[in-house]
């Protein structure tokens, strides 16, 4: 059965994929629907949804909430993807070297990994952004730094299990070099779990970014969902729409990514496939 057929068997995953596609389209066409800067004062402050030409209302400074959500989608998705790709890259290198060589290299690399893991990840991210000054780069770096250890541990485990398989030993007897064995023989066999973990990491990255922005540690020049919630939180009782709609956007996006991740797991994990 093809990969897509297996993926499509999980209805929830397909739903997640659909929502995610909508969010991505929204991010891509934000500029077309809302050509103006989302920080621009567009009209009356604190207008409820549906009034004064605001689809989802406006905040205390008269900024359009709907425009903010559309432009914020771009920020969230971009940060999620870039931070995840960077974290997977670092994690794979650490995990592969440590699992493949074992011994002292493994000890050294894993102690470093644990050092990162012992600090609560969100607190660590806040610390990093505070030190580096809030900007989009520093946020991506902070998210990468707190999320690569998980990938490293996963990849290390896969490499540990695979390096003693007979097909790897056969490569040794052919005289293949270490780098080639790691990249060509072992890595392709652990792509599936990496994809699954990576997809879930995108969701976590979006959450961390929103959290940072909510605390006022976001990039001040870039609109994001977390920033909107942070800006509206003091008026939650008088102007509920300022916080609520960006909150729903985060909820739906993260949920969609998680559903897709689960679906990928079902479709890519051969053991689960047999169980059905």
């Amino acid at each position: 059965m093809s990969f897509w057929k297996r993926f499509a068997r999980n209805r929830q995953a397909v739903l997640g994929m659909f929502i995610l596609a909508l969010v991505i389209l929204m991010a891509l066409f934000a500029g077309a629907f809302y050509p103006d800067d989302p920080f621009r004062l567009a009209g009356k402050p604190l207008a409820p949804p549906g009034t004064s030409g605001f689809l989802l209302g406006s905040d205390s400074l008269g900024r359009d909430v709907a425009s903010g959500i559309a432009h914020g989608a771009k920020t969230s998705i971009m940060i999620g993807l870039v931070a995840t790709v960077a974290a997977v890259f670092i994690g794979v290198i650490f995990g592969a070297l440590s699992g493949y060589y074992g011994g002292k290299i493994d000890d050294a690399l894993m102690r470093v990994t644990e050092m990162f893991q012992t600090i609560p990840s969100f607190v660590f991210a806040i610390l990093l952004v505070a030190i580096m000054k809030p900007s989009i780069e520093s946020i991506v770096i902070a998210i990468t730094v707190v999320s690569w250890p998980g990938v490293a541990r996963l990849v290390r485990g896969e490499f540990l299990a695979l390096k003693n398989r007979e097909f790897v030993q056969a490569c040794h007897t052919l005289g293949m070099g270490d780098i080639q064995i790691m990249l060509r023989e072992i890595l392709p066999n652990c792509v599936s779990p990496i994809i699954v973990v990576g997809s879930l990491m995108v969701a976590t990255a979006i959450l961390i970014e929103s959290g940072l922005a909510f605390l006022g540690l976001g990039d001040p020049n870039i609109m994001s969902w977390g920033f909107q919630i942070g800006a509206g939180r003091t008026m939650l009782r008088s102007a509920w729409w300022v916080c609520t709609f960006p909150g729903i956007a985060i909820l739906v996006t993260v949920l969609a990514i998680n559903l897709v991740g689960e679906g990928l797991n079902d479709a890519l994990n051969p053991r689960l496939r047999e169980r059905q």
Partner: protein, 546 residues
Amino acid sequence: MSDTTSQKLLDIQNLSILLPDGADRRYAVEDISIDLSPGETLCIVGESGSGKSLTARAVMGLLPGPKVRVGDGAINFLGEDTTKVTPERLRDIRGNEISMIFQEPMTALNPVMRIGDQIDEIFRFHVSMPAKERAARALQLLTDVNLPDPAGIMRAYPHELSGGQRQRAMIAMALALEPKILIADEPTTALDVTTQAQILKLIKELQQQHHTGVLFITHDFGVVADIADRVAVMQYGKLVEMGTVHEVLNAPQHPYTKGLIAAIPKLKPRAAREQSKESVLSAHGVRKTFGSTGGFSLFGKKDRVVHAVNDVSIEVHRGETLGIVGESGSGKSTMARCLIRLMDIDDGEIYVGDQEISKLDRKHMRPHRRRLQMVFQDPFASLNPRIRVGQIIAQGPILQGVDKEEANKRAKELISIVGLEESAFDRFPHEFSGGQRQRIGIARALALEPDILIADEPVSALDVSIQAQILELLDKIRKQMNLSMVFITHDLRVAAQVCDRVAVMQYGKVVEIGPTAELFGDPQHDYTKALLAAIPGKDWQTEDVA
């Protein structure tokens, strides 16, 4: 009780077991009728996928439902149809009246429960008796299955016992309530031959004492010859032949049975061949120990050191096949991996031709890799599932500097030499069966045109008919390319068929080495004698099958 001999214990009539939709066939088991009398041993024989295990599970109501289920037919156990009884009654029958022993005792026993408690559990679920009496019964059972120090074993956890001891404990549990039927699903397949012989003897003895009906599932005709009264042969879920052990083994009627029996390696050592004196591979005083070396032990715990290979010297001549036989833990696989430099040795010397290789680092070893190649045991683990077959084979020559075009051309040739379609070149390993994969593994090893092929149990994961084909292929190639072979196996029948000389290993040492015919005809060492005596069905094979 009325006349028990005339009454059938188990009478399976026209049983069919359905497979889930989309499986490669509709029925796992189709229209099977089998019966079993008290005190009788019925062996169900067949290759993998023949449905023999599912038949046994159906009797216990242990089919992996809901998709795999009984489609049709009846399983009559003393007049009761176990496919129709209530789940409560079925639970009562299991363990109490029909019990089962499995292939892998390590997974069938609960690893976090003491053996004594596990036996106790059976009594608690099925009969009411005081704790003291239960303990006494459990102790008696462990004594009955000839376990040493039964009181100690009561307190032991499964991992503290050896494979054979675990299987004895399983048998003790199975027989705890004196069931009328014992179902044994490949109970000795995971065990060494000497242990297997003991377990078979034990089952036989206990059966005679308790007049139990035994349904014995196996793929090994040697075991059948030793233990069966009657034999049922299964293929693709159908019963192809049934009869007394004498009828089926010595005068098989169905072509499938005939083929299977013909494929069993004969215990007759191969005829001696002209020997070359040229040494292509030799090892002198090789030692390899395992254990936590380096690293300090914080709590002063003594490191456990295992001498996997202890002062082994062997020599292989050009064109010769040297067999290394032994049971699990004898160090034979470690020796193979040392010879091919997958492991570094602690002490000793290894020569390929007149080049010493054991001290070479990886870079200097690389040019010599070509001369030594290996065929692995597990055809499913030895091929990278993500790489196409053609590349798997061509990889070696390309690494050694052969032009890519040239290597691909050679790979195609090799694919046909090992008897596969040329279209295999662009396919992935998972599209092939176990035997075909082993052929691919052989082609990969041959691609470098080695002088010496080291085969580590190359046929032990294969069905007997496929096994015969692979052995034939190896022999053909050896002749064609004038290869020398080191053939590691635990199966003495296979060793007798393919090896010119045999080295017997025990506890990391070679205890006896000599030409196959001499070693089989006149073994000197006690261990060799014990191994030869334990070969299942060794009396049967002397009567040649017509």
